[in-house]
Amino acid sequence: MQQDEIQQFLKRYFRAHECDIVEDYDEYLTVQLSIELDKELMNRPFYWHYIERTGGVPAPMKLTLITKQTEKTRTLKGERLHFGSPRLHQIFQSAQRRGGYIRLYEQAHAEPQASIPLHPWLGLNVKISYQCDRKKEQLLSLGLHLISGGIVEQFHEKLQHLSLTPKIPDYCFTISPIIKPISGIGRLEKYIQQIIERDDHTWAEEAIARWREDMALLDHFYEEMDEKPECYYIEKEALEEQYKPKITVSVINGGLFYLQPRSS
């Protein structure tokens, strides 16, 4: 992540949460935090507890975030951010926590005499983690048409070309889903499972081979002992934790999208 990207991300994050950007320069930002984000980011529960108990006037903090080192920012009081700094990661976490669930409608231009039906879709962005003693992650964006059961990949990318709004547009109406969201989730899980099963799993076979190899060494180490000491079992457990391949699928975010029917 480049420093410019970081700054763009920060600006969008604070604006999306209705915080004023008081100073907006190429190399740094100063943000007036909202009460909500102060509580979320500044880690001062006692202050907020006190204000709420005494009915005091809340004074959320200002935050100066420096993304470029220049003559101007050298003496500036503020936090220097880069990819990897704890503050940025805290904001990443916050963004993920606050952007988990959504419901949107496509902005369709309908006339009073010819209203447009909007079809329900379930959209999920998921992360698949392949883990043994090493790890790889893959993101997947899927959309399920809750009428026909059809599944679309790269769903999020497709959504980005549409104009979306949180309120149902005039003269549009939504069609009730035939597939309930809860069973929609089940269908997408099944679909993901199929994708994973078709994958190349050499990585897992190799991990199991490494596991067996270390296990054989361990057995050899204690072979002369009739009764194995406790550390044998501890070590055995550690090897399992280290090598045993597993795949986890977690949802990053998702929601309901009501879209115009398309021929494709």
Partner: protein, 553 residues
């Protein structure tokens, strides 16, 4: 087929929101959440993510290579055995960070010498943004994810029991050569720790015997070098790693050792100066009085202390006095006649010629200086003596508590000109901000000397390092300096070189060997010949080492 686990924590709140018609995120918030996840995702099993997260840190090429190798080829279990000063802590930090970014490691136990605890905590926090915490209260074990502690604390009850209950993903042990003996409590403690990922750090993986590497490796990966009886049978007669290609190859699968010469890093230079000191008349008399005890029959049972006493006279009369006092304690009132004579001679010494010289030198240097001495009495005396002459100093000892060590280091860095350290204080502090070292008296084990110098001559030292070796003329000190250290060019060698040479000689106890030469030689000539033999042996091992290096290329 690998088991697939679906994390269901997203589902419930979603259904609830449908029920209650919200709350929903805005489209921008939703997109930001996905983008954050994209930035944090680890796209590949291979390669290192950590450098991207640490733009302000510029690891050296060999450090990055070590991290990559440990993660990709050694499955996260390795002995990091770079020579002193090549940055093993940075390597360990990189590896730990990599695993944390990948979400493979969360709970971490880091065991280091007590004197290094706060330094590790600071480095992990400042350089790696890893929220490491020093273990000070017992709740820390459970509540903090990354804990740094000394092994001596950790192995004791109730800590030991609490630690065994934790599920550590990674265990890092610094100065791991202290675990070379499988009969110790420390070894047993570590053996019973669950080690999913594990790093053992040591600059001297083998100090004396080949079994040491067996014990170290068996801690990391039991069975890798076979079991105890197999190892004894197969490699028992092997004298060093170099002589058995098979063993060397096996060890190299779990151990990485970078040498200074391989790294291609420019190091600052070492300048070594020998400072010969002349005893005053009284000091000389005292020295000779001690030496004459060799023939004294009533002294026979203390014969072995003689060399120590001679070395003490060369350091300070206070050092000798302390030893005499301890000896007197063992007589019940009846003191042998020589004792009185010695005390008298001690009393008549009014100046310490060495201390005078040290003062002169410190005044001339006019910059930070570290003085190393072997004796606590000398340390105290020197502090007083320098104070009398308007120079403030701080003491440093191995026995200091962690906080006190940090405090002394800070005082030295920011306030006072001189730090006076005893031997035990030599290990485990980094003092790159200073580049003058006075060896007020010399240890007899060259490795210990190496460690002293290593405190200041390490990565990050930007100045040339100046080392002043003090020796009193016509004493054991001068002999050891001229006959041994100068001959083997100890001070000019690069860090770690000597380490190898001594390993080749399989010399178990260098100190005892020297002691023997000094003590059993009937005259100067015999001693000289013995010392020459010793230096010839070291030279020979040196030649072999060089030959191996050429052959390896």
């Amino acid at each position: 087929m690998v088991n697939i686990e679906f994390d269901s924590s997203w589902k419930e709140p979603f259904l609830e929101r449908i029920e209650k018609d919200g709350p929903w995120a805005s489209w921008e918030m939703y997109q930001l959440a996905l983008e954050a996840a994209q930035h944090l995702a680890v796209p590949d099993f291979d390669g290192l993510q950590a450098p991207k997260h640490l733009p302000h840190l510029t690891p050296l090429p060999h450090q990055l290579e070590v991290a990559r190798q440990v993660v990709e080829q050694m499955n996260g279990k390795a002995i990091l055995a770079d020579e002193v000063g090549l940055g093993k802590t940075i390597e360990a930090g990189l590896i730990l960070k990599e695993y944390m970014i990948r979400g493979l490691v969360k709970k971490v136990l880091i065991l280091v010498p007590a004197s290094l605890v706060s330094q590790w905590v600071a480095e992990l926090n400042e350089k790696f943004f890893i929220p490491a915490v020093a273990q000070k209260k017992s709740y820390v074990w459970e509540q903090c994810d990354v804990v740094v502690s000394s092994i001596d604390t950790a192995k004791k009850s109730p800590h030991r029991e609490i630690i065994y209950e934790q599920q550590y993903d990674m265990v890092i042990i610094d100065e791991a050569h202290k675990l070379k003996n499988n009969k110790t409590k420390n070894y047993e403690f570590v053996q019973n720790l669950k080690k999913k990922f594990c790093l053992l750090l040591t600059a001297t993986p083998i100090q004396n015997r080949i079994e040491e590497i067996f014990h170290l490796v068996s801690l990391l990966k039991p069975g890798h070098l076979g079991n105890a009886s197999y190892f004894a049978e197969t490699y028992g007669k092997t004298r060093s790693l170099q002589t058995d290609e098979h063993l060397k190859a096996l060890v190299n699968k779990v151990m990485i050792r970078n040498r200074r010469i391989d790294t291609g890093i420019e190091w600052s230079k070492r300048h070594v100066e020998t400072v010969i000191i002349e005893f005053s008349k009284e000091e000389r008399e005292l020295y000779e009085a001690v030496q004459s005890l060799k023939a004294d029959e009533t002294f026979l049972k203390h014969q072995f202390s003689l060399i120590t006493m001679l070395r003490e006279v060369c350091s300070s009369r206070e050092a000798l006095y302390l030893t005499l006092k301890n000896m007197m304690g063992k007589y019940n009132g009846e003191m042998p006649p020589y004792m009185e004579e010695l005390i008298e001679k001690i009393n008549s010494v009014t100046v310490n010629s060495k201390a005078k010289k040290a003062l002169e030198l410190i005044q001339r240097i006019n910059d930070k200086v570290i003085i190393f001495t072997e004796y606590r009495a000398t340390q105290l005396y020197l502090q007083w003596f320098l104070q009398q002459n308007g120079i403030s100093s701080v003491p440093f000892r191995g026995g200091f508590k962690r906080g006190k060590k940090d405090w002394m280091k800070d005082l030295f860095k920011n306030r006072v000109q001189v730090l006076i350290a005893t031997e035990a204080g030599g290990e485990g502090i980094n003092l790159q901000f200073c580049h003058h070292v006075i060896n007020y008296d010399l240890p007899w084990n060259p490795m210990r000397l190496e460690q002293r110098i290593g405190r200041v001559h390490r990565l990050g030292q930007t100045n040339d390092v100046r080392i002043y070796n003090f020796a009193v003329k016509d004493t054991v000190e001068e002999h050891i300096l001229k006959l041994l250290y100068d001959k083997i060019r100890l001070f000019e060698r690069v860090v770690g070189e000597l380490d190898d040479i001594l390993a080749k000689l399989n010399m178990n106890n260098f100190d005892d060997y020297l002691q023997d030469i000094f003590f059993r030689s009937r005259n100067e000539r015999e001693m000289k010949i013995k010392m020459e033999n010793l230096t010839a042996m070291i030279d020979f091992a040196d030649q072999i080492a060089k030959g191996e290096q050429y052959a390896a290329r």
